[in-house]
């Protein structure tokens, strides 16, 4: 039987409640933990980190009654402990071979190009100018250009970096949507 089918709505709700009594904040926290677990598993060499992050969450949900009763502290720590166990199982099934997965086929790359074009067009003028300006130039010129952009905007270089990062995250999500990939 599929484990997912064992997750009842009530168990899931209890897990959310454990994360935060406020339902909305709990939902955000759940998403946050999932996203970070994905990054941790990817950094450990797991090729399908989404799948194994979900597995981790499922296991926590399945044991939620016990967990709520016995565990004290930041729930994130509990998720982390489970994730490590899950990862140990993963490497038994798929011994770690640190190598990248096969590159995207040419068609996919072409679609990405088209999607990038589309998503850039959807950005507002300022954000588009900012991100394209930020990635223009190379090496020394690039650094000078970024410093100059920060100066013009009246912000620190790091603030500019964060701002561009956020635009880029949005852009990436838009591209994923465009490609029909499920957003994480």
């Amino acid at each position: 039987m599929n484990k997912d089918s064992l997750i009842t709505q009530s168990k899931f709700d209890r897990m959310l409640e454990w994360l935060d009594p406020d339902r909305e904040r709990a939902g955000n926290k759940h998403e946050q933990i999932r996203r970070r677990l994905i990054e941790i598993l990817a950094s450990r060499g797991c090729h399908e980190p989404e799948q194994w992050a979900d597995e981790t969450i499922t296991r926590v949900v399945l044991k939620i009654d016990e967990v709520v009763k016995n565990f004290e502290g930041d729930p994130a720590h509990f998720f982390y402990g489970v994730a490590k166990n899950v990862f140990r199982e993963y490497i038994k099934v798929k011994p770690l071979a640190f190598c990248p997965p096969a590159p995207a086929p040419p068609d996919e790359v072409e679609r990405e190009h088209a999607c990038l074009e589309h998503c850039l067009a959807r950005l507002d003028e300022e954000d588009r100018g900012l991100i394209l300006g930020y990635y223009s130039k190379e090496r020394r010129e690039k650094i000078d250009n970024r410093n100059e952009m920060a100066r013009r905007l009246g912000v620190a270089a790091n603030a500019l970096r964060i701002r561009v990062y956020r635009i880029r995250i949005g852009l990436k999500e838009c591209i994923r949507d465009c490609l029909g990939v499920e957003a994480r």
Partner: protein, 1206 residues
């Protein structure tokens, strides 16, 4: 801040898998709970991606990124996004990002439809695009990926087309003015769509249509090289497609324009010639193809074939009178006509303008007009002023006479002031002071002189010489030594026309001496140029070139436009004789530019078109050659010289012959003979008939009529022998020899002709002093030796003699220079001819005698239709033949190198297959003879010089060649045995002293595109640590002066730095070193770069091994005969027994690993260098770094030289 930096460093290590398990857990716990930390984590991820994409991650870091970081599709997507953003043009106020109009139904309706249900969406797209385009686009409405892509391309450029030329199938849009720096206006999303579709189409179906369409995309993107690549690919499969030919013509036209903007005149002229070839072919295949006619008019304008361009525009307007293209054609035609009217000033107008300038004391205008006024007889303004003065004086028109004399003095003053030329000043003084009697005598002398000039122009040289002789005597008797000098000068020309080279040369030399001492600059420059011309006839090309360059300098000072033009043409002729047709085209183009601006007579323009045609012909660009010769023919008729007409017809015949138009060719040669026979002066006639006979021979040989060819060559040889005129002897004998070989049954005199042709070849090469010109000459003339090799091997079955011929023509400059023991190259004074090493060249028997016991050698000769392979060891000699043409072999090698350099995933199998094919071809025949315990020396030929033999893989066992043999390369067998001998002499058991140089602090301002090489600095230190006695110079210490001084005292020299290869001037390839602080570049010759010509001058008495750990130090440019040139070459020339150098641009980190291991295996493993290199390569091949296992990383370095025990 410090904490932030530390956090970033830890996160970076975490992402690259560099943390211990404990640190990793701490980091992960924090990532889960600390929002700011996680945001920093995301930023570090993006930073790493950027650094990887920029190439800032190298070596281990790069590998870790690929193995540890790039593990998920999402991270790969991030990488591709970064790459796309980087490639995306930055927005500027002029060039904003345009938004795609989104059809209703959501943002991705068009995209989804395009990719999910292509057929339905394609139809919609077609309708939308067609509506947008209106009449602009005229391509077939086929709903294929190609037509969709082309529709999108049409949409993208509907407002402007990027260049003047017409791409086939596209309608009219006004041309962008890109020359003024304006950006081309285009619809970016539409072009992106076109790119996606056309790239995808080529990937899915790489056929002629898809390659053609992609080529068109690149034309619009103004990337002509990419366009050429795809259009040539298309043409391979569809060679008779007029539209592809048209577009390839456009691509070459665009490339030529780009080159012209970079002042690369030679390259641009060649590109225009290639463009013309394709456009003419397009019109031949489809005379109604308007695009090709339009484009041909454009390219003919670029080639300065203005009359033919006018004809094309007129023909175009006749065929298309109403379209917007026709409006452009009319505009072009009008410009050409205006331009022609602008320059069509005759001498009368120029003289009137001069008088006006004189009267207004407008020195600038007067000087400009004087600059245009000269021909080989002097300035017509000066002569006319003098004549009018004398006439007015004789007619009693005193005021007019005085004014003309004042004007003459004015010319004299201007020439003294501006050019330091005393001639006209002396002339004015002579006539001012002349008594009436003397004046009358001088008038008579001038009459005789002018009459002789006319006789000379009409090739009546005997009459001219008579008149000149009389005039000279009168001038001398009456104090007119300056005019007598002009007469002596033109007399020498008459001698030359009669083929009397020795008398002519003596005459010009005497004029040179007297004009130099009299400070008659213009005559001095002219006589130098004439001397150069005679030396060309005597096949003394280097002497000719030196005189031409001196002449150019002087004539530029005198402002003689026509004189400068003449020298440019002569330099072009010399370059062609040196075997450098591209260089020749550059000179002729400069001459034509001057001619069309300023020439008043047809003669200089005739000369320019006539001489410019030959380099085109040599490059196989027959259409351009014919166009130029036809233009020359029109001008030759205007010169009224039957000799010029005859020579022009002879060339035209030869060119028609090359194109396969045999009847037209024969008719032309016949007219050449007819014109030649109409010359009244016997010697001039003989010379012209001989020349026409020579071209008859060439024509018959081209047509395969070898018997007739031999007869014509015999005629030419006999006539030239009569004249004792050696200019074309080599050409005639070479032609006869090639005809004899090709003729079934040969000729009775074949052996003798072979001997004569090779003897004359040797005489030629001995007269060429400059290294670069020698390389070019050998390259161009290698065909003679190739035929001789083939004749001995295939026809006579004498494999040993064939090997001797092959050996005889190899690396001769290198051997000559080694023997001379001194540098002798361009830019340095040449005291005399280089000693020929011919006498000392080793034949097979001597090579076998000297072959080291532990060595075996395989030598290749790439011939037109076959590959010859010889195996040579001390005891055995064998020869093999592989039936593969030079072109097919070149394709195989090029394809293999392309795969090797691409390092593409998924291409490994293709790479292996290509390596296997080459192994079978090159190693297969000799494999049973090879002894794995011996050093395997390879002597490559032509394209094989670029091949990394180590990476050839046996298809049988899959092993690389390097797994079975230690390899060494040598440019010839003689070089191998001689360097092996040097190695024995330098193989003392004493301690090796190392000079190790790495990462010099070179001048980053001058060499701005080169980065520091920290890995090379580490390499130099690591290598030094392996030697007991060493000197290490890195960073600022590695100055040119210190490095050069230390080289003289070193046994082993290791240089890890940047190499800059100059393919055009091999003597100026260089290794970057640190600049001398506080020293001007010229203070001690240290300019922070060690050039090839400087290395030739070094004393390296101890050096036994030089390691050039830099890019492309083994591979600069290969020449037929001479082989590969490169920075390695001067070291081998300077008797260094072994050099390790690279075939391509190398990766700094993998090179460091390879180099340190090479020295470790030499020092600690006690292996000879070639074996140590082999072992180091095997370690990399079998080592832990996956990327380094690719041949790209371990195969670039080769050992060059002899067999060494160290």
């Amino acid at each position: 801040m410090a904490q932030d930096l530390n956090d970033r460093a830890v996160l970076r290590q975490y992402l690259l898998g560099e943390l211990s398990p404990e640190e990793r857990e701490r980091t992960e716990m924090r990532l889960l709970t600390d929002d700011g930390y996680f945001e920093e984590f995301e930023l570090v991820k993006e930073e790493l991606i950027d650094q990887y994409e920029e190439g800032e991650l190298t070596g281990e870091g790069r590998e870790r990124f690929e193995r540890h970081f790039l593990t998920t599709p999402d991270r790969q997507l991030s990488l591709r996004l970064a790459r796309s953003l980087k490639e995306y043009p930055a927005p500027t106020p002029e060039k904003k990002i345009s938004r795609t109009a989104e059809p209703s139904g959501g943002p991705f309706a068009w995209l989804g439809a395009l990719f999910a249900t292509p057929a339905r969406a394609a139809a919609c797209l077609l309708v939308a695009a067609a509506l947008a385009l209106g009449v602009w686009l005229a391509i077939p409405r086929q709903p294929s990926a190609v037509s969709e892509g082309l529709l999108a391309l049409g949409t993208a450029y509907r407002q402007q087309r990027p260049s003047e030329a017409r791409v086939s199938g596209f309608g009219h849009a006004p041309p962008a003015n890109t020359r003024s720096g304006d950006e081309v206006v285009y619809d970016r999303p539409a072009r992106e769509r076109a790119e996606v579709m056309l790239h995808s189409a080529v990937n899915k179906d790489p056929g002629p249509d898809t390659h053609h369409a992609l080529g068109q995309l690149y034309l619009f993107k103004q990337q002509p090289d990419d366009a050429i690549r795809h259009l040539e690919e298309a043409l391979k499969a569809d060679g008779n497609n007029a539209r592809i030919h048209n577009d390839l013509g456009v691509a070459w036209l665009e490339r030529g324009e780009l080159e012209l903007r970079r002042d690369e005149e030679a390259a641009s002229t060649e590109s225009f010639g290639r463009s013309l070839a394709h456009l003419s072919r397009a019109l031949e295949l489809d005379p109604s193809l308007l695009e090709a006619l339009f484009n041909r008019a454009l390219v003919r304008t670029h080639l300065k074939l203005f009359r033919l361009a006018e004809e094309d525009w007129k023909a175009y307007i006749e065929k298309d009178a109403t379209s917007p293209w026709a409006d452009e054609a009319r505009q072009h035609l009008k410009s050409l006509e205006e331009q022609n009217r602008g320059v069509a000033q005759d001498k009368k107008q120029v003289f009137a303008s001069f008088l006006a300038a004189f009267r207004a004391a407008d020195d600038e205008a007067a000087w400009r007009l004087l600059s245009r006024s000269r021909d080989f007889t002097g300035s017509f303004i000066t002569n006319r002023l003098l004549d009018e003065h004398l006439e007015a004086f004789a007619g009693g028109r005193d005021e007019e006479a005085r004014e003309r004399l004042r004007a003459l003095s004015y010319v004299g003053e201007l020439e003294v002031q501006r050019a330091g030329d005393q001639f006209t000043s002396d002339l004015a003084n002579l006539y001012t002071a002349a008594t009436p009697e003397r004046r009358a005598a001088l008038v008579e002398a001038r009459r005789l002189m002018k009459s002789a000039h006319e006789q000379l122009r009409a090739d009546r040289t005997e009459e001219a010489l008579k008149s000149y002789g009389e005039a000279a005597r009168i001038f001398e008797r009456n104090g007119g030594s300056c005019e007598a000098l002009v007469v002596r000068y033109t007399s020498a020309h008459s001698r030359l026309l009669q083929g009397e080279a020795a008398q002519s040369l003596a005459g010009f030399e005497s004029v040179r001496r007297d004009s130099e001492s009299g400070r008659y600059k213009w005559l001095h420059g002219q006589s130098l140029n004439a001397i150069a011309n005679v030396h060309i006839g005597l096949n003394n090309y280097s002497v000719a070139s030196e005189h031409s360059r001196r002449s150019l300098k002087i004539l530029k000072q005198t402002g003689d436009v026509v004189g400068v033009m003449k020298v440019f043409d002569q330099l072009g002729v010399e370059q062609l004789r040196f075997g450098d047709p591209r260089g020749a085209l550059g000179f002729h183009r400069r001459a034509l530019t001057l001619g069309h601006e300023d020439a008043l007579d047809p003669l200089p323009l005739w000369r320019s078109y006539f001489t410019a045609a030959m380099p085109f012909h040599t490059l196989g660009l027959t259409d351009a050659a014919i166009d130029f010769t036809q233009e020359a023919l029109r001008l030759a008729e205007d010169t009224k010289s039957p000799g010029n007409v005859s020579r022009t017809y002879a060339h035209l015949g030869l060119m028609y012959g090359s194109r396969g138009s045999h009847d037209e060719a024969l008719a032309c040669i016949q007219r050449a003979l007819d014109s030649a026979r109409s010359i009244t002066t016997e010697k001039v006639r003989t010379n012209a008939v001989a020349y026409a006979s020579l071209q008859f021979g060439n024509l018959h040989r081209l047509a395969g009529n070898f018997g007739r060819a031999v007869e014509s060559y015999d005629d030419a040889i006999r006539l030239y022998d009569q004249l004792n005129f050696g200019a074309f002897s080599y050409v005639a004998h070479k032609g006869k020899f090639l005809s004899c070989v090709a003729q079934p049954g040969g000729c009775p005199s074949l052996e003798q002709e072979l001997e004569t042709a090779l003897r004359l070849y040797e005489q030629h090469r001995a007269k060429i002093l400059e290294t670069r010109n020698r390389y070019s000459f050998f390259d161009a003339e290698q065909g003679v030796y190739d035929v001789a090799i083939d004749y001995e091997f295939s026809a006579k079955g004498d494999k040993a003699k064939a090997f001797d011929h092959s050996e005889h023509c190899r690396a001769r400059s290198l051997l000559d220079l080694a023997e001379a023991g001194e540098r002798r190259h361009e830019g340095l004074p040449a005291a005399g001819p280089l000693p020929s090493a011919s006498a000392g060249l080793d034949g097979l028997a001597e090579i076998q005698r000297q072959m080291p016991d532990g060595a075996q050698l395989v030598q290749y000769a790439v011939l037109n239709d076959k590959l010859l392979i010889w195996f040579v060891s001390g005891a055995r000699f064998e020869g093999f033949q592989q039936p593969i043409s030079a072109r097919a072999l070149e394709e195989k090698v090029t394809n293999y190198l392309r795969l090797l350099h691409a390092r593409s995933e998924g291409e490994e199998e293709r790479l292996r297959r290509a390596a296997g094919e080459l192994y079978d071809l090159l190693i297969g025949p000799v494999a049973p003879l090879l002894d794995g315990s011996k050093l395997f020396c390879i002597v490559p030929d032509k394209i094989l010089n670029r091949l990394p033999y180590a990476a050839l893989a046996s298809p049988a066992g899959g092993k690389y060649l390097i797994e079975d043999y230690a390899l060494t390369f040598s440019p010839s067998a003689t070089t191998f045995v001689r360097r092996s001998q040097t190695a024995r002499e330098r193989a003392g058991a004493g301690q090796e002293k190392l000079l190790s140089v790495g990462d010099p602090r070179f001048d980053h301002k001058t060499f701005a595109s080169y980065k520091s090489l920290p890995a090379a600095g580490d390499e130099a230190k690591a290598v030094a640590a392996l030697y007991d006695s060493s000197e290490t110079l890195t960073g600022a210490e590695a100055t040119e002066g210190r490095v050069v001084r230390a080289m003289g005292d070193a046994d082993v020299i290791h240089l890890a730095t940047h190499a800059i290869v100059d393919e055009h001037s091999p003597m100026y390839s260089k290794l970057l070193l640190a600049s001398e602080p506080g020293l001007a570049p010229s203070a001690d010759g240290s300019d922070g770069a060690l050039t090839t010509h400087e290395i030739y001058g070094l004393g390296l008495p101890r050096a036994r091994l030089v390691v050039l750990s830099a890019c492309r130090t083994a591979a600069e440019r290969y020449y037929g005969g001479e082989g590969m040139t490169g920075i390695w070459s001067p070291f081998v020339t300077r008797n260094v027994p072994l050099v390790v150098a690279s075939l391509w641009a190398v990766d700094s980190d993998s090179t460091k690993e390879l180099m340190v291991n090479l020295h470790r295996l030499r020092r600690r493993g006690g292996l000879p260098t070639a074996s140590a290199l082999r072992q180091a390569q095997l370690e990399m091949l079998r080592g832990p770094h996956k990327t380094h296992r690719q041949p790209y990383h371990w195969a670039p370095f080769i050992a060059i030289g002899g067999h060494t025990a160290f």
